[in-house]
């Protein structure tokens, strides 16, 4: 069966040319002129892939992608954009897009990206596929960063930092790719990744909880807080929960000693923590967690 593709762009010319190119490849293509129409279509029909512009009046591309990830997370998304700024690409990557087509595009680029994206989507569906595969958009962004730093001395650490931002972690595959790009041996790349505590080779959960293990926090009882978090999430420092919601990290002083004991979730700092307050904070990031914690508490009391 031919793959079903929805093209969303406020310029008619883009839709027309996309339809022409992709139909000639045998795909089943539909086009709409706004984010709102796209939502209606997506609610009624099933698609394998959505190609969408980012800059559109009213409902823009990012809003559409966000909505789609919530409503039908299994549909693959590729963005078409004339403005591939680092910020929007980063945001889109975080939302889980597969790739992007820069405007203006040639027919060959469009059909290439589409083909790859559909294959990638299939791979996602089959769980037994090796995990170390990354969306093409991610890799091309990574390659761009590597290229930007290529001939600058001492650029390995900044590149690794950016790579971790883009990919989320630094598995061997990514390390090798960076090494090749910067002309540094994989062993050297690995030696740096393994030395600094900022770098991780394990994927992190949706939310990263960092608990401060500094002196002020120690004196004010961070250990009790940490034990409670470990117990409730059932993970140790350095691990990620089974449902991939939370990762737990211990850090050497966050420099917010005035608020001790301190923990940071993603980018937000929380001070004067107690075991109970810590669980409340975590609950704000995942409503199902509160339920689980409350249930546990109830079980404890009945025992």
């Amino acid at each position: 069966m031919a793959a079903k593709i929805l093209v969303v762009d406020d310029e008619v010319i883009v839709i027309k040319s996309a339809e022409r190119v992709l139909r000639s490849e045998g795909y089943d293509v539909e086009g709409v002129l706004s984010g709102r129409e796209a939502m209606l279509k997506l609610e009624q029909n099933n698609y394998d892939l959505v190609l969408t512009d980012l800059k559109m009046p009213e409902v823009d591309g990012i809003t559409l992608i966000r909505w789609l990830r919530n409503v039908k997370p299994s549909i693959g998304i590729v963005i078409i954009t004339g403005y591939p700024s680092q910020e929007t690409i980063k945001e889109a990557l975080e939302l889980g897009i597969i790739d992007y087509v820069p405007k203006p595009f040639t027919p060959a680029v469009l059909s290439d990206v589409t083909k790859r994206a559909l294959e990638w989507g299939k791979g996602e569906a089959e769980a037994e596929k090796p995990k170390e595969e990354f969306p093409p958009a991610m890799l091309s962004e990574l390659d761009r960063v590597v290229k930007e730093h290529k001939d600058k001395p001492g650029s390995l650490i900044p590149v690794l930092q950016r790579a971790q931002e883009i990919v989320g972690y630094l598995p061997p595959f990514i390390q090798k790719r960076i090494g090749r790009g910067l002309n540094i041996s994989p062993a050297e790349v690995h030696s740096v990744v393994s030395f600094y505590s900022f770098f991780t080779m394990k994927p992190r959960g949706d939310h990263n909880i960092r608990v401060c293990l500094g002196t002020a926090c120690y004196v004010k009882g961070i250990e009790g807080v940490l034990d409670k978090i470990k117990g409730s999430l059932k993970i140790n420092i350095g691990d990620t929960t089974e449902n991939k919601k939370f990762s737990l990290e211990g850090v050497r002083c966050l420099g917010a000693c005035g608020l001790a004991p301190v923990m940071v979730v993603d980018q937000d700092t929380y001070g004067a923590m107690t075991p109970k307050k810590a669980l409340e904070v975590i609950g704000r990031y995942d409503s199902s967690f509160v339920g689980a914690a409350a249930k546990e508490e109830a079980e404890e009391t009945t025992e």
Binding site: L156, I157, R252, C253, A256, G258
Partner: protein, 620 residues
Amino acid sequence: MEKVRTNLMLCAGTGCVASGTAKVKDALQKELEKRGLEKEIKIVLTGCNGYCAEGPVMAVYPDEIFYQKLTVEDVPMLVEEHFLKGRPYQKLMFKEPEKKTAIPMMKEIPFFKHQVLRVLRNKGLIDPEKIEEYISRDGYQAAAKALLQMTQEDIIKVIKDSGIRGRGGAGFPTGLKWEFASKVKSDVKFMLCNGDEGDPGAFMDRSVMEADPHSVIEGMIIGARAIGAHHGYIYVRAEYPLAVKRLQMAIDKAVESGLLGKNILDSGFDFELQIYQGAGAFVCGEETALMRSIEGKRGMPRPRPPFPAQKGLWDKPSVLNNVETLAQIAPIILNGPEWYRSLGTEKSTGTKVFALTGAVNNVGLVEVPMGIPLRTIIYDIGGGIRKGRKFKAVQLGGPSGGCIPEHLLNTPVTYEDIVATGAIVGSGGMVVMDDNTCMVGTAKFFLEFTTDESCGKCPPCRVGTKILLDMLTDITEGRGKEGDIETLEDLGRDIIATSLCGLGQTAPNPILTTIKYFRDEFESHIKHKWCKAGVCRELTTFLIDEKLCKGCGACLRACPSKAISGEKKMPHKIIQDLCVHCRTCYDACKFKSIKILPAKFQGDPAELEAVSGKSKREAE
């Protein structure tokens, strides 16, 4: 332009932001607009004010009224009372702990009263994201003076005469460092700033970078000119995203204004500056390791000589200064060495910023003249020990420092006097501990840190710290044996003597000082299997003294493992099989009826007197 009648300096340091600055700002803005005051009253977001524990804090200028613990709910009343009716709002003012009288003026509050601000001269007074505000407070005048009116030798002489010493920890004279580097001939040199504030319990550098980034940049321009460097890096911890953001903004603004880059102020002097983000390794605070890290390698130290002044970053002459040191350079150039020497002692001149934290009432950043006694900092500025508990020790200098006991609290804070106690001034972390703290546990805490952060290059540090940690773990878990204390001391001294860099050379300090001043605690852990603070779980038994128990039920409700039983108004009992030794009941009891006894203590609570009496004698 509208005339601004009042400025509200709202703290937007990391501490206050975590306590809710953003929400308070929105509420204030809305309320001011509602009352039609938004044109005459301006809200300014400043860097860290220093009084982090009471955040979000705000100072009102020109009245100099200080408000703390602001909440969104209080905002309407505050605006109505103070800004509409002109009556400062008492509810949000600082109150004296005992008398409960409100102190409206910022400079009258004890926490601020004893401080002298040089490094933190702009804290809470400027918006760190605006270069104009820094310039309006004499910013970049010193750089202009250094570039246009002074020779390299002039600058170095002023800095040498001021007596300023590196504020990062070791206290090496800054002027000498610059002189060495300036005398080395090389086409390329580097001026570096160490913002890799790794000591747990220290956050003064973070605060300076966030609250006054231009002061660091100006210091670097002057330093670069003195040594003849045209390239510079600021190495910042990756854990400090706000500092990175503000510094980057400041650098961009300085470049735009012609204060960085080519031909600065038409002086013909070029200086390019960039930020380098660290990646989380404590050892990178060591200068040779930091330079390795900028080169993109593992941040491991190397033996000196050659010193970085000869061969540093990429084997070129380099100077590395700490953030706090650099932030003081501009006023020294402007006001002269005599001004700088007017505070402090002969050998430790000027002021030092400390991060006062732990079990004190007033937690935050404090800047004081060198040479004032520790007691003044802890009791007058810090307001004494929290919840009326007893002072036990103050930890200075982080994992490289040591614990100072009560009888040495009159020690003046100078590099020499603090070293004489066995601790170090270090970067300025000052963590106060009360009698609920176990000193053996504290020593173990620091060793866990250094063992983990040891880079692994030299065996004395890599293996030695691990052995020390294992021994301390044994002691805190009841496996300590006779002779352990002596072994700890011997091994500690060997590690100090044989390690390659500052990390290993100072790692045993926390153990050596705790043994020196709290030997009886080590002994009671080893001989009596008794952690008197009730921290080491394996070394305690909790019992209720029935004579003192009022049967109020506080402990019973607090106990997480339901190990306490008893009728109301009747003496309670701890069921030992269920007790997890968490000390919750001890903290909950208002009548001091819960006693901490040695591990596996069996007996009648009636024997309590005898036991505690006997051990007390032994300890003495």
